[in-house]
């Protein structure tokens, strides 16, 4: 009965490769997010999708491309991976009707680029 799930949990790859991280939520929420957590534990939003439509796109290299096939899924594809992409990536979801809606986070995907 996992609310927000991500796969894989760990991803080790070489520079220049292309990889994807998948996220699924079974909470019936209409908004999903991707966050990047750096080595100092700082969390920064990357993207947000509401009803499959992109609503937040922070300053992120265009090597990162989110894809939302339906409201319950938001995948993150990364092209030409670089060393600086190593981080923990968190998916989250929320229901946006009204201010103050809390976000529910997945367990994270630890990406290591060598």
């Amino acid at each position: 009965d996992t609310a927000v799930s991500q796969t894989p949990k760990y991803l080790v790859t070489q520079m220049g490769n292309d990889k994807s991280i998948k996220c699924e939520q079974n909470l019936g929420h209409d908004t999903m997010y991707w966050y990047k957590q750096d080595s100092k534990k700082f969390l920064k939003i990357m993207f947000s999708y509401n009803n499959k439509e992109l609503i937040i796109n922070e300053t992120v290299p265009n090597r990162f491309s989110p894809k939302s096939p339906d409201k319950a899924h938001l995948n993150l594809h990364i092209n030409s991976l670089e060393l600086g992409d190593s981080a923990v990536y968190f998916c989250a979801s929320s229901q946006t009707s009204g201010q103050g809606r809390e976000q529910y986070f997945g367990p994270g995907t630890r990406l290591t680029v060598t």
């Binding site: 939003i45 947000s48 937040i56 946006t96 103050g100």
Partner: protein, 112 residues
């Protein structure tokens, strides 16, 4: 624009003593405020939230926080620390359309 400052990067307490994690925020509007906890190698779990109702908010695991508008603070407290409370804690502010801004985190260390 919204921002949040967690005043301590690390807080160390002994088991059974009170916990105080400090957070100040900046917001142009009436904000929503949250505290999240992250245990090692885990995702983030919501501890509690404030959304303009009661200023004293009770959360899970005995934590509570008080919203003080005059001080722009939202400090997290617990009367008695447990070893299992050792984790990273994030204060978070939100204005409007669900955008969350995270503080840099406070690592809580609990010694026996």
């Amino acid at each position: 624009a919204q921002s949040v400052t967690q005043l301590d990067s690390h807080v160390s307490v002994s088991e059974g003593t009170p916990v105080l994690l400090r957070c100040n925020y900046s917001s142009s509007y009436s904000p929503s405020l949250f505290w999240y906890v992250q245990h090692p190698n885990k995702g983030l779990q919501l501890l509690l939230k404030y959304t303009s109702a009661a200023t004293l908010v009770k959360g899970i695991n005995g934590f509570e926080a008080e919203f003080k508008k005059s001080e722009t603070s939202f400090h997290l407290t617990k009367p008695s620390a447990h070893m299992s409370d050792a984790a990273e804690y994030f204060c978070v502010v939100s204005e409007g359309y669900s955008t969350l801004t995270f503080g840099k985190g406070t690592m809580l260390l609990v010694s026996p």
